[in-house]
């Protein structure tokens, strides 16, 4: 039996639930969705054929689809949308949802489900996806009536985008997709305004800034949407500025005030500055344990001003002297406005100490992953996007890349999701086809979502440049085993079974280059970037290099290992 082609109502209004879905998404400005079809979402895919203006990107795994949607959202700040069928399709989204929740990424996931009459009966491909995703979404819905669909979608999108953004899942049973629909599409809900920062607290923060001898500004992912404001704040008060892993790019790395990244693999300057500061002003960050090290040893001399939209983050980890609930940009503007006119205050003693710390740390001057990553990321232009996977290469990229703009750095910060980097770059590349989207991935993590090479080919995506840093190991785990488990390397070796990455790329029609020393790498990078189209670069690096500086788990930031205890260091700024 074949199904009749989907027919819109003569007026062009949606005729069933599935059409109402697409109409609603279009009304919210959605132009691109990432997905994978299956039985329980077929009416939605059938209706999609009526919507030539919506581009659907067929990934090769739902995890690829959702990370691509995340990459789209992280690069643009707009809503990412992904679709999956019921059961296994839906459960394949779980990692991406958790990832988006941790990193506050605005995301809408649409899943099909079995017809309502079968729900709860363990029907074929039934999964209780709203139950499963309850703790990894900002909110989720099961649509029980097609008439509710536009209202639910408008609300879901508002929730995903408002306040601290996050993922929202809407589960639509198949019979609801097929149910006749007679209503109208709900226009986008306006986003609620951010809470007004308490003026008395803002003034109190300005007072603390006036009195501080050793101030530091810390910026997190919440500052990505407020780069201009936070930069003005730092410059107005002459504040040495630290950007967390999620905050990289919110403040220009070329500015002399920039101290780098804090935390486990943070710069010596950032971690020492935190440990010695008498005032920390944190905007849009959540003092994650990878940032604080041992909390009792975090910023022992500092008064802490914590600005966040999410009241639950304030005081959650680090006790705060002065909490300010508000939008990072708005508070930054208010605080910048309270700086005195003229040049920012100078603090010669503090500046001298910072200058000394900036010379410490650094990476070995011989060939290895650090040098390879440095060579690769130093080729990024100010507008280019760098996406990473998770592991040593990620931390090296975070240490070595120099971002001048926000939203050019895509990394799985909170969840640390291997397999994230490559599909996220695909999403960003589709959002910004004129921009080079570079991926730095490990040999381990790249293989978690390498199937998305097919997605590059299918859509002729020309601006993804993949660099696989091949150290033959699950390097970050190996490093921990080396340092904390007396080199008992347990189940971390990949070298005996990694594919030939160039052949793998070739199998999907992508050219590849390989290098295993600095000189060859320089040439290979040039060819790889010059190639008119997406391409892969494999960098073969020594197996046993570690990432330093490093704050061992459970240690305070001040107890960091500044350099690899086994290797000499180039010196100079990290």
């Amino acid at each position: 039996m074949s199904h009749a082609p989907p027919t819109p109502s003569p007026s062009g209004a949606p005729a069933n639930g599935a059409q109402a879905l697409w109409h609603s998404l279009a009304a919210h400005g959605v132009t691109t969705v990432f997905g994978y079809p299956g039985g329980a979402i077929m009416p939605v895919y059938d209706a999609l054929t009526l919507f030539p203006d919506i581009r659907h990107i067929l990934a090769r795994h739902e995890q690829g689809a959702i990370h691509a949607a995340e990459g789209w959202a992280r690069a643009t700040g707009r809503l990412g949308v992904c679709l999956a069928t019921s059961g296994p399709g839906a459960t394949n989204l779980v990692t991406g949802l958790a990832d988006a929740l941790m990193d506050s990424v605005p995301l809408l996931a649409i899943t099909g489900n079995v017809p309502r009459s079968l729900m709860g009966t363990d029907a074929f491909q039934e999964a209780d996806i709203t139950g499963i995703t309850l703790p990894v979404t900002k909110h989720n819905y099961v649509v029980q009536d097609a008439a509710d669909l536009p209202g639910i979608l408008a609300e879901a999108i508002r929730i995903a985008r408002s306040g601290r953004p996050g993922p929202v899942l809407v589960d639509i049973p198949k019979d609801v997709q097929l149910a006749p629909f007679a209503g109208a599409v709900t226009p986008p809900h306006p986003l609620p305004p951010a809470p007004t920062p308490d003026p008395a607290r803002v003034e109190a923060a300005a007072e603390l800034l006036r009195g501080a001898a050793r101030p530091v500004l810390m910026l997190g992912g919440g500052a990505q949407g407020a780069a201009a404001e936070v930069t003005a704040l730092a410059r107005a008060w002459g504040l040495p500025t630290i950007t967390t892993l999620m905050g990289l790019g919110a403040f220009p790395a070329s500015d002399p005030l920039w101290l780098g990244m804090p935390g486990m693999h943070g710069s010596v300057a950032a971690n020492r500055a935190i440990s010695e500061a008498d005032l920390i002003v944190g905007l849009g960050l959540r003092f994650d344990d990878r940032v604080t090290g041992r909390v009792s040893g975090f910023a022992p001399h500092a008064r802490i001003v914590h600005v966040d939209l999410d009241a639950a983050e304030i005081g959650k980890i680090v006790p705060t002297h002065l909490p300010i609930r508000g939008d990072a940009g708005q508070v930054a503007r208010l605080l910048a406005g309270r700086a005195g006119a003229g040049d920012p205050p100078r603090r010669p003693d503090w500046e001298a100490r910072l200058a000394e710390w900036r010379t410490r740390g650094g990476h070995p001057d011989h060939w290895g992953a650090a040098q390879a990553v440095r060579q690769v990321v130093s080729r990024l232009g100010p507008n280019d996007i760098l996406s990473t996977d998770v592991g040593q290469h990620q931390m090296l990229a975070a240490q070595l890349a120099r971002f001048q703009k926000p939203r050019r750095w895509l990394t799985s910060g909170g969840l640390g999701t291997m397999g994230f980097g490559f599909p996220a770059a695909i999403g960003a590349a589709l959002a910004e086809p004129e921009v080079t989207c570079m991926v730095v991935a490990g040999d381990g993590g790249f293989q978690m979502t390498a199937q998305e090479l097919a997605t590059l080919t299918k859509y002729g995506i020309r601006n993804v440049k993949i660099c696989v840093v091949n150290n033959s190991y699950l390097g970050m785990v190996r490093q921990w085993q080396e340092l904390f488990h007396e080199r008992r390397y347990s189940e971390v070796y990949l070298g005996d079974s990694n594919p030939d990455f160039l052949k793998l790329a070739d199998a999907y029609g992508l050219p590849g280059w390989r290098a295993d020393n600095a000189a060859d790498l320089e040439e290979a990078i040039s060819a790889w970037l010059a190639h008119d189209g997406s391409a892969l670069l494999e960098v073969v690096v020594p197996n046993e290099h570690g990432v330093f500086p490093m704050v061992p788990a459970g240690a305070a930031l001040s107890e960091m290992l500044e350099t690899d205890p086994r290797s000499p260091v180039a010196g100079g700024p990290a």
Binding site: T130, G131, L134, P135, K138, H139, V142, I159, P192, D198, R201, D310, A311, A312, I314, G315, K316, P319, T320, H321, P323, I324, R325
Partner: protein
Amino acid sequence: MSADHLLSVLVRDEPRVLTRITSLFGRRGYNIRSLSVGTTEQPGVSRLTCVVTGERAVVVQAMRQLEKLHDVLHVIDHSLEKFVDRELLLVKVAITPESRVEVRQIAEDFRARIVDVGRRALTFEVTGDEGKVTAFLEQMRPFGIIETMRTGRVALTRGSNADIPAHVYHGGQSRALTPALAEGEASLRS
């Protein structure tokens, strides 16, 4: 200092709203001593009273997390205002011909009502604050408690006003944080 904190939570009467709340409590390790739920005078709104045990800062954190749930309309921290609270206890006490009179006498002192009479047991209903209910149980213990069920505490703020203005029920978007704790000052370090 670890102590009991009495919270009331007004929620949208949506599927899974209880799961959302208990899952949040469970995942973050908040210790719930009791939880009771019922409908309210507002259609579509349920009210729940829960007793959370923990340090003040942990309880403030629990409230902040609750307030983030879309289906949570308002959280009331009863430690900030005068309130009345009650708990209902059903208890089945063993009796013998010898103990029968004494058991009934104690029940009368507590104004407990007999709701079922068996040959070897009496079932009582007691309402009161937690102290009274607990004291009643202690008095009955020597006779032999066969079974108990407590509802957990339910609470309302004292005075003539509703705990939250009606628009909160309907607006949904204009949720305010509990005033005195709006920015988590329980966590302030001095």
